[in-house]
Each structure stands twice: as structure tokens, then as C-alpha cells.
């Protein structure tokens, strides 16, 4: 069961690295968070501790329902819903993501469980999306993918207290809400979400 979920997570990560259309990105992110939620339930079922279930429910609520809702609301007014000319085009970004994943597997062979490696993969692909794309909304999704990677790392490496997990999830929710509002305002002021306009604070 766990292997299937890690496979789903890895697949969504690689595909999202290559996506150009934004609504596909939100769908990919939704599937990925669904997989992580199920993963929590599975872990809870295996280890028998109750707080995994609570975390699973919470991630499902926030990551699959609330955050995609915010993203869709801010996408609605966008005129162009496709990443026009990304810094690294789709082909190249998938190739680079592949190379990164190979490098991670080589570097991280010291760790036994492959959740950690999946978490790091998510982190790296999220960072790649953040750097390689021009649209603010894609940067936001890249950031959220990195968050997912972080959650995976937490679950696998250390046993965190319940309160702290809740707080972290709340944190992620708040950040994505703020980002959505900010994208809304940027869109209102700049009439576009392309970050090229956001570069005149040069000095």
C-alpha cells in the first residue's frame, strides 16, 4: 500500500515539473495531497497511533479542499491560464528534474526508508518549479509542493507532537491564503501575474 502511494507522489511530482497549464497544476497538487493524506492513514493504521489519523484528516481538508479552492478563486480572473514563456521550457525542466532525482537517490543512499527520499524529491522539484517558472501562481504551487515534501520528511524521520503538526498545517494554510490574496492584488495592480513586471526594485 505504502509503495503505491509513494509511486503516485513521485509521478505527480515529475509531471507537475513539466506542466504548462495552471489548472492542470492545481489538479496535480490535489492528487498529491490526497496521496499524502492516505499515506498518513496507512501509517496510522500500521503503527496504531491515533494522532496520525488526525493529521491525515487535517491534511486532506486543507491541502485537497481549501488551498485548491483559494488557487481557483485567484485563477478565475487570470486572462492567460498558461505559463507563456517559462525560463526553462517543459522539456528541459523534466530532464533536469530527472537528473536531480537520480542525484538524490545517489546521495541519500544512507537513509533506509524511501519516504525520506520521496520527501527530498518533492522538495527539489518544488524548488525547480519556483525557479524555472515566471507566473506567480506557478511559483505558489512550487512552494506548496515543497511544503508537501516537508510534511513527508516530518512523517518519516521524527515522531512529532500532535500540537506541532496541527500548527504546521495551520501555518501552511495561512501562507497559501496570503499568497492567494497577494496574487489577487498583483493581478489587480499589474493586470498580469508575470513576475517580469515584478523586477523594477533594482536600485
Amino acid at each position: 500500500m505504502l509503495e503505491i502511494l509513494t509511486a503516485v507522489i513521485l509521478i505527480t511530482a515529475i509531471i507537475m515539473a513539466g506542466f504548462r497549464r495552471i489548472n492542470l497544476l492545481t489538479k496535480g497538487f490535489r492528487i498529491q495531497s490526497l496521496a499524502i493524506g492516505l499515506l498518513c492513514f496507512a501509517l496510522g493504521y500500521l503503527s496504531g497511533e491515533s494522532h496520525y489519523y488526525v493529521i491525515g484528516v487535517l491534511t486532506l481538508i486543507t491541502k485537497t479542499v481549501l488551498i485548491p479552492h483559494f488557487m481557483n478563486r485567484s485563477i478565475k480572473e487570470l486572462s492567460a491560464n498558461r505559463e507563456m514563456d517559462p525560463i526553462i521550457n517543459g522539456w528541459w525542466s523534466s530532464v533536469i528534474a530527472g537528473i536531480f532525482i537520480a542525484v538524490i537517490y545517489v546521495v541519500m543512499e544512507g537513509f533506509n526508508s524511501d519516504f525520506i527520499i520521496a520527501g527530498v524529491v518533492l522538495l527539489v522539484t518544488g524548488a525547480l518549479m519556483l525557479v524555472a517558472r515566471k507566473k506567480a501562481i506557478t511559483q505558489m504551487t512550487g512552494f506548496l509542493v515543497m511544503e508537501n515534501g516537508l510534511v513527508l520528511l516530518e512523517l518519516s524521520m521524527i515522531k512529532m507532537g500532535l500540537l506541532i503538526d496541527i500548527l504546521i498545517i495551520l501555518e501552511v494554510l495561512l501562507i497559501s491564503a496570503i499568497m492567494a490574496i497577494m496574487i489577487f492584488y498583483i493581478n489587480k495592480v499589474f493586470h498580469s501575474v508575470n513576475t517580469d513586471y515584478l523586477s523594477n526594485l533594482k536600485d
Binding site: 525557479v131 515566471k134 513576475t195 515584478l198 523586477s199 523594477n200 526594485l201 533594482k202 536600485d203
Partner: protein, 590 residues
């Protein structure tokens, strides 16, 4: 309370002597500046000036009297802050801000070098109190680092490495009473610091470093005096000539360091006494000359020699005081310039006679010749400054309608000229006192330096006696005949036009032909219906070295600012690169 204070203050001879210099010159200059302030009365607030002036003098006293490195550094920086806010006191005229900024940055650089020096002293001796450092003097392993830092730190502030007239330490652009105080007193505080560190804290340095200081001082003396000679601005000429005198003082201190290291203690004490006595005298007559140039500026509104001339008619008393000042700086016997200059030359000759290594002997003698050449050029520059501005006929409108100078300015200058005459006549007593104080604090033995015995006082008295005698005789001779007043003889031509006289550039033309290249002297002449002759001197040292430094920093700054390219992706990439790089570095090296 005093015992509590004495914990902070040094009371050995060196501090008391320099404290004496500071107070001695601060009084007449403050009297002078009560008059000079009238120039700015309705424009700037007088209270601001007096607070800053008081802070300036107090901080100098603090530097001289402080007994540990932290209070020394605190007062040192306070001194540069107070002098900065005095320098930009006249911030309405446009070109007084930039020199103020350059000056403040320069003093901060010298402060930081001194901080580093005290850091090294703290590293080896483990203490910041001067008396403890003196006791644990043996623990200093590499004295040459401390010496180089001290030389750069004190040299930059004393106008040795950065000459006073250059645009970095542009004393001539500041209000005249401040430039008088700065060149008269503040440079001596830097010399005090240098002697305190090299002689007292480190107990003398290797003779090679002493030699380096001597050569440096001599080279800078001749470089600055040639620059002084070719200037047309009164105050700029005086600024360059004050760093020439500082060069001479540093070369004598270098000589003292060499002798101290070669165990010739008496000659070292004599050289150091010469250095101290010359810094005292230079303080007196240089502030006298600066206040003179200041009153000329106050009266006419310009300090450019070619526009002045014939000021003696309306400013008789100032002319007399400046005459005494010029005589003092050109080492005319009864005055104090002669006393210290001859003492320096005597110490050069006597110490070279005692040295046993032939090479060192030759170097010392040649330095003596260069210093004598520099003092000859100093006479040339001083006479040019006094002669062209005060004597002869007024060369421009400004020099004709001269503003009335307030009395307190003349009083200040009179006090300074009286001091310079007194120090000249009673110089043997002062030299004796300095040498006793120095020998007790350095060698713990009493040693009096009397190269001239009391001859100078005898010469002075005889000279005054004969002059009075001759004046009486001539009074009797022309009792009947009144002198006729007629126009100057001009081979029959009408010499009423002022530009028949020699101008500032003309007066120093022969030297420009010989030493022009050393001061970046360029002359261009255009012959249309009238002949137009213009000359320009650039401070070679400043342009080639210091200006290049500034261009280089600007060049780097433009490159570094490019980091902020504005793209957010680039910024995030910076973080990831930083993560990867530091991970690699930490795993391999830590």
C-alpha cells in the same frame, strides 16, 4: 575626586608637554575666533561653533592625557567628529562639504588602523592599560606589525602620508581658525601618539624601521614644500608647508628611533628634544600664519595671492604679526623657528658623527642636506606668501576696499607673535627642560641638552640692542629732513599699474622650472591680442595613488550593485546555490 581621575590620566612628561602645547595655542586661537565668528554672525549660530570648539579642544586633551587604549581611541574619534562638524561649519558655500567628508573618512581610516594596532598590543601584552603594557613590553613578538600600523595610523592623521594641502585632508578649505587649530595642534597630537607608541609602549623599534621613518619624513618634507612653493592660494600654501614641517619632525623622530636602537641614548634624547621643540614652535608660528591668512580672507574675501597685495596699508597690525610669523618660519635668529631648526640640524650632525656604520652615516648626512634644502625652500615659500599678499600695490578691487578687522583677531595674533618671540629668545631654557623631562621618563637618568649654551639669548639681546641703537642714530641724523614721497622708480616708465609687480606664479617661476615635474606643474599660455598665462599644479601623490584607490572602489561597487538584478527567480536561486555550496564546504572541511 582627583585621585579617582588620576587613575585614568597619565602624568608623565610627554603628556604634560603636549597638553601645554594644546592649551598654549588654544587660548590665542579662541581669542582670534571670537573676532572671526563675526563673519558668520547672522548666517550660522555661534553657540554651535563654541560647543564644537570646546569639544574639539577637550577631546585633544583627552587623547593626550588618556592612560589606556580604549579611552585613547574614544577621545581620538571624538576629536575627529568635533573637527568634522567644525569643518563643515560654513556649509553654505558649496565647496566646503566635500573636503569635510574626505577629511572625516581619512581620520576614521587612521582611527581604525590605530584600533587594529591596539588590538595587536592587547593580543601580546594582554592588557589595555599603558603602564601595564610598559611593564610587559617583552612579550611583543612581532613589533614590526605594530610599528607599521602605528606609522600608517598616526601618519595619515598627522598629514605625513596624506599631505595637508591635498584634497583629502584639505585644511585650507576649512574656516581659518579651525585650520589654525588643526595644523597647529591636532597634528602634534598625532605625533604625541606616535612617540607614545614607539618610544614608551614598545620601548623603541628596530633601527631599520627608524630609518624608514626618517627617509619617509625627509621625502615627504621636500615633496610638500615644492608643492607649497607652487601654490597661489595662501591657505593651501600654508597647509602644504605644515605637512613639510611634520615631515621634518617625523624624520628627526626617525633619527631618534635609530639612535635609541643603537644604544646611543644621549643623541637619541637630543634628537627627540629637537622634534618636540620643533613641534611646539611649529604649532605657534603656523597658527600665527594661518590666523594671518584668515584675517586677510576676512578682510578681502579671497585668499588667492594674485588678487591680493598692498594689504599693509589698511591692515598694519596684522601685517606686522604676519611678518613676525614669516620670519619665524624662515628660521630668522631671534625667533623660535631658528631655535628648533638649528637644534634639528645640530642633532643630525652630532648623531651622524657618533654612528659607526658607514652606510647609516651617509644616509643621515644626506637626510640633513635634504632637510636644509627644504628649509631653504620654506623661506622661499614664506616670503612669497607674505610679500605678495601684504607688500607692494593692491592687485585687484578686493584688495583695495578692505573690511575692518575686529580687534580681538589682532589681539589673538599679537599673543601668538609674542609667544614666538619669547620661545625664540628663551629657547635654551625650554630645550633644557624638555631634555631633562624626556631623559627622566625614558632613561631614568638626568641629561641636559645644551648644544648652543645660552648663545641664542645673548645673540637676541645684542641684536635688539644694536637695532635700537641704530634707530636712535638714524632718528638724530634725519631730524631736519623729512623723507619725500615719490612713485617707485620704473626705468622712466609709468609704474602705476599694479600688474607691473611680480605675481605669485612669477615669484616661484624659477623653482617651477627645476622642480615642476615633482608637483605636476603644467603651464599653458595663449597669445591672442593679450598674452594669457595659466599654470596648474596637481598633487601627484594624491592623484596617482589615492584617486586610483577611489576609482577602484567605485568600479567594484558598480559590479556588486548588479547582484540586485530584480528577478525573483534569481534571488531564490541564490538561496539554493548558497545551501549547496555551504553543504559541500561543511562536509569536506569542517
Amino acid at each position: 575626586m582627583l585621585s579617582y581621575l588620576s587613575k585614568f590620566f597619565m602624568d608623565d612628561f610627554l603628556s604634560v608637554f603636549f597638553l601645554f602645547i594644546i592649551i598654549l595655542i588654544a587660548i590665542p586661537v579662541s581669542v582670534y575666533s571670537t573676532g572671526y565668528i563675526k563673519k558668520y554672525r547672522n548666517i550660522y549660530s555661534g553657540r554651535y561653533f563654541w560647543i564644537m570648539f570646546g569639544l574639539f579642544v577637550l577631546s585633544m586633551i583627552g587623547v593626550v592625557m588618556s592612560s589606556n587604549s580604549i579611552s585613547f581611541m574614544v577621545f581620538w574619534e571624538l576629536m575627529s567628529i568635533a573637527s568634522f562638524f567644525l569643518a563643515i561649519y560654513d556649509h553654505k558655500n558649496r565647496e566646503s562639504i566635500k573636503p569635510g567628508i574626505y577629511y572625516f573618512v581619512l581620520t576614521h581610516i587612521s582611527g581604525l588602523f590605530l584600533m587594529m594596532m591596539f588590538g595587536f598590543i592587547y593580543k601580546y601584552t594582554g592588557s589595555i592599560d599603558f603602564t601595564e603594557i610598559v611593564h610587559s613590553r617583552g612579550m611583543i613578538q612581532e613589533p614590526w606589525i605594530i610599528f607599521i600600523l602605528a606609522l600608517i595610523g598616526f601618519g595619515a592623521k598627522a598629514g605625513l602620508l596624506v599631505s595637508e594641502g591635498s584634497s583629502f585632508c584639505a585644511i585650507h578649505k576649512f574656516p581659518s581658525m579651525l585650520s589654525a587649530m588643526m595644523s597647529g595642534v591636532m597634528l602634534k597630537v598625532a605625533i604625541y601618539g606616535f612617540i607614545r607608541v614607539t618610544f614608551f609602549l614598545m620601548g623603541g623599534v628596530s633601527w631599520e624601521s627608524g630609518l624608514a621613518v626618517m627617509l619617509l619624513g625627509t621625502v615627504f618634507a621636500i615633496y610638500n614644500i615644492i608643492n607649497a612653493l607652487l601654490q597661489n592660494d595662501n591657505k593651501k600654501l600654508l597647509a602644504y608647508s605644515s605637512s613639510e614641517n611634520i615631515g621634518v619632525i617625523f624624520s628627526v623622530i626617525g633619527l631618534a628611533l635609530v639612535l635609541y636602537d643603537l644604544k646611543l641614548y644621549e643623541a637619541a634624547i637630543m634628537a627627540l628634544t629637537a622634534g618636540l621643540f620643533h613641534s611646539l614652535n611649529h604649532g605657534v608660528f603656523k597658527s600665527l600664519l594661518f590666523t594671518g591668512a584668515g584675517s586677510a580672507l576676512f578682510a578681502t574675501g579671497t585668499s588667492n595671492m594674485n588678487e591680493l597685495g598692498g594689504l599693509h596699508a589698511k591692515m598694519k597690525f596684522t601685517a606686522i604679526c604676519v611678518f613676525i610669523g614669516t620670519a619665524a618660519i624662515s628660521c630668522i635668529p631671534p625667533l623660535n623657528g631658528f631655535a628648533s631648526e638649528s637644534l634639528i640640524l645640530v642633532s643630525f650632525i652630532k648623531s651622524s658623527f657618533l654612528l659607526d656604520s658607514k652606510k647609516l652615516f651617509l644616509v643621515v648626512i644626506l637626510c640633513g642636506c635634504v632637510i636644509m634644502l627644504a628649509s631653504g625652500a620654506a623661506i622661499f615659500a614664506a616670503v612669497k606668501a607674505f610679500g605678495i599678499t601684504y607688500l607692494g600695490k593692491a592687485r585687484s578691487e578686493k584688495a583695495v576696499n578692505v573690511r575692518e578687522i575686529p580687534r580681538s583677531m589682532n589681539v589673538g595674533m599679537a599673543m601668538l607673535s609674542a609667544l614666538s618671540i619669547l620661545f625664540g629668545i628663551f629657547s635654551p631654557f625650554i630645550v633644557g627642560m624638555i631634555s631633562i623631562g624626556l631623559s627622566e621618563s625614558i632613561l631614568e637618568t638626568k641629561y641636559i641638552v645644551q648644544p648652543f649654551g645660552y648663545e641664542i639669548t645673548r645673540v637676541a639681546i645684542l641684536l635688539f640692542g644694536i637695532i635700537i641703537l641704530i634707530l636712535l642714530v638714524s632718528r638724530i641724523l634725519d631730524k631736519g629732513k623729512k623723507p619725500q614721497i615719490n612713485s617707485t622708480w620704473g626705468c622712466g616708465f609709468d609704474t602705476s599699474k599694479p600688474n607691473m609687480q611680480y605675481s605669485g606664479d612669477g615669484f616661484s617661476q624659477p623653482v617651477a622650472r627645476y622642480f615642476g615635474r615633482m608637483a605636476g606643474y603644467k603651464k599653458e599660455s595663449k597669445v591672442k591680442d593679450t598674452i594669457l598665462l595659466k599654470q596648474k599644479t596637481t598633487d601627484k601623490l594624491e592623484n596617482n595613488i589615492y584617486m586610483k584607490l577611489i576609482y577602484f572602489t567605485n568600479f567594484l561597487a558598480v559590479r556588486v550593485v548588479k547582484i540586485h538584478y530584480g528577478k525573483i527567480q534569481l534571488y531564490v536561486a541564490y538561496i539554493l546555490v548558497a545551501v549547496i555550496l555551504s553543504l559541500i564546504l561543511v562536509i569536506n572541511f569542517v
